[in-house]
Symmetry: C2
Subunit: 71 residues, 2 copies
C-alpha cells in the first residue's frame, strides 16, 4: 500500500488534537482518483503521515448522525 | 495483538450491513478491562471477527456530533 495517492476534497472538522500535534479529522477523501468517501482518521502535523482510520459512505454518515442524535 | 479481550458495554447502533453480513457499528467497548471507549468498526456476523476501526473518546464523539450537526 505504498503506491497510492489521495486528495482531500473537503475538510469537515477536527475531533481532537494530541500532545504531539496529531489530529483526528473527518474529511471527504478521494483515494486513487475514485469516488470520494468520508474518512475518520488520525493525521500527523501537515498531513505528513496518516494513522488508522475508517471510511464511511454518505449513507453510513447519515446513519451515524441519526445514532448520535438519539443519544 | 492476539491475546486481548474486550467487552461490549453498550451497542449504540448499526451504520450499515454488507452483502456478507458484516456490520459497521458504533459501540462502547472496554478493551482489556480498561475504561470504555466509543468504537466505530466492522464486525463479522456473531462478532466472530473484527475489522478495522477507530476508537473515540466521549469528547471526540461530542465533537463529531457537532461537526455532523453543522453539515
Amino acid at each position: 500500500m505504498s503506491d497510492f495517492k489521495y486528495e482531500i476534497i473537503e475538510s469537515l472538522g477536527i475531533l481532537s488534537e494530541s500532545a504531539k500535534g496529531w489530529t483526528k479529522e473527518l474529511n471527504l477523501i478521494s483515494w486513487n482518483g475514485r469516488e470520494p468517501k468520508y474518512d475518520l482518521r488520525d493525521w500527523a502535523p501537515d498531513k505528513e503521515k496518516m494513522g488508522k482510520g475508517i471510511s464511511l459512505s454518505s449513507e453510513e454518515l447519515k446513519e451515524l448522525k441519526r445514532i448520535l442524535d438519539n443519544q
